[in-house]
Assembly symmetry: none
Homo-oligomer: 191 residues x 4
Amino acid sequence: MNNDRNRRRDIMNCMLRLVVEQGIQNTPMSQLAKEAGVAAGTIYHHFPSKEFLINELYLDSKEAFGKAIMVNFTQDKSYREKFEIVARNIYDFYVDHEINFLFSEQISRSTLITAENRRLGELNYMPILEFLELGIKLKELRSMEVELMAQLIYSNISAALHLHLSDCLIMTEERLKTVIASSWDGIKYKL
Amino acid sequence: MNNDRNRRRDIMNCMLRLVVEQGIQNTPMSQLAKEAGVAAGTIYHHFPSKEFLINELYLDSKEAFGKAIMVNFTQDKSYREKFEIVARNIYDFYVDHEINFLFSEQISRSTLITAENRRLGELNYMPILEFLELGIKLKELRSMEVELMAQLIYSNISAALHLHLSDCLIMTEERLKTVIASSWDGIKYKL
Amino acid sequence: MNNDRNRRRDIMNCMLRLVVEQGIQNTPMSQLAKEAGVAAGTIYHHFPSKEFLINELYLDSKEAFGKAIMVNFTQDKSYREKFEIVARNIYDFYVDHEINFLFSEQISRSTLITAENRRLGELNYMPILEFLELGIKLKELRSMEVELMAQLIYSNISAALHLHLSDCLIMTEERLKTVIASSWDGIKYKL
Amino acid sequence: MNNDRNRRRDIMNCMLRLVVEQGIQNTPMSQLAKEAGVAAGTIYHHFPSKEFLINELYLDSKEAFGKAIMVNFTQDKSYREKFEIVARNIYDFYVDHEINFLFSEQISRSTLITAENRRLGELNYMPILEFLELGIKLKELRSMEVELMAQLIYSNISAALHLHLSDCLIMTEERLKTVIASSWDGIKYKL
DNA sequence: TATGAATGAGTCTTCATTCAT
DNA sequence: CATGAATGAAGACTCATTCAT
């Protein structure tokens, strides 16, 4: 039923918001029920447990990330330009979906996500890893484990995002350019 | 009483370990009492609440970090060399104090730490910020907000630390050098 | 509708099995619905409540017992022989309908069965009670309240059945003969 | 602390009564707390779970049974007389401790009791089993598995107890004598 | 009649904190 | 100061039953 999927989505969206605002442990299912406008039991009609619900949120978030990451990716660009596109995709996606970013940060080292789901979620990173491998092969990037390299890139963008979200500093186009350039300089091939 | 301070320290050390092993929410005060070998009430003689205890742990951890960061820092080195020393200090401190690293990661975005304590904790970063400001002034580093730059550096080292702690990849001296070099290349002054 | 009675029977049979396997309290109506292949609401078209359904099962089980008890009962036998036939009928019925036996044991002291239904169910014991009364009158059996005597006989057969169902002891023909003989010796008329 | 054991006992006694009156599943821990005059958490200070509490009740009940069973057992009696003493001990114990009897009946086939505890509980039957083995060896009792024989004896006494507890029939001394005689006749050695 | 999503009171259990000793 | 039994509010989850479709 169409209504069914909507109800499920409503619950997920509401939980996502609450988890980001309050943390998983500070979000009781009773509150979720109230704010989603359903009975407590209804949640359990759609998700067998709180843990399962969080896992669904995780998979959802990774999938959305994966879809957003490689857009605007055309071959008629230099590797450096493509790198910038990917980096901006990541940044833009999370700026547009702050809630996903904050959720990801919170869930990233959580033991609540099952090993299997974590594996599934990380499949969405594949296109990036392949792009980096290609870069190394083309001698555009320095030789390094692509997982480590991906971490370095992500952590730089993440740092920018945190500053964007905090009120300390406005992330102007210029600053973003600096961060991306800094990231590129950190991994590019040196003669 | 000397015994008194020891008791306090024992409780803190035990809590630090438990929090890292299990998470804050999965560490009941009753377990802390048992593993620290004291009665539940005793903990409350030393700390008015669980939250306060966590805040003490936070301040402690930041202070230790601050103390470790600028050791081996002699003036008879180039700026680049000093940068490497600082980066290695951070890395080494957390390798030697994994528990502090994991605690920091867990607590970093937690709402349990009061705004005031967070401010106090971050004072320990001052020497680094000043070192970076100097670098910009000396045209060793590119012009950038030092808070952002510090984030970039820390996030790179953190990425290395996570790989070190995970079993995926062994953090050889070479890989660490690569990370530090990558970090330096990302922020150094370009003509 | 014929289909209707079948549906009702399917639900009852399924519930009987589940109750014996898991206990009444551990058998949710939702599980019954799933395993019987009907919707939850459908069950409530046939039975106003779980309690009512259990009561129907009880009456059913007692009726089946009553029908089985006096088969093969021909007058051209001695009283002792007829006693053995009845005892074997009880034993055989429950060996063939283990599920009924286990259900009876579980339900026997339950407060779920209404007083009225319990009375109705026990009407099925009448033929046995009459047979025992006849035995006393004929000086084949010692003088005793027939309800007490029926309990003694049943409890002996029940003991045999439990041993048969457990894996401790195989109920050979010989052991069964011993139990029936023991039961008879316990109630037969003494000079 | 003395108070401690009392509190524990109070909770156990209260639970025993409630379980017998209402059944295990119909006795919520919240009701136990209220009727025992303690907070819900207090119960869990003494027993890790409802299941554990029930297991304790079981062990307690079996132990009390075991202690009561062989009293007044002097060697200057015939085997038949000793048999009567044991049978009366069982009957008297349960008449004096109706609550234990009803609890035993309810718990006897329950899956809540752990295998280990069931084994421990049944150790209390040992003196009876040994007494029966002796009887067989002395050719006082017919040859039969002692476990089966014990079941037969117990089930007869149990039948008497149920009639005693029900309002159908008053268990006079004469009727009890009949039951015991009936039981004896059922197992005694036949030439 | 059949369906099955929705309900919400009720269940067991946890745990930060208190306080009499 | 130390103890640890006691508290009770709050949490995750269950399930008999209803009712709109």
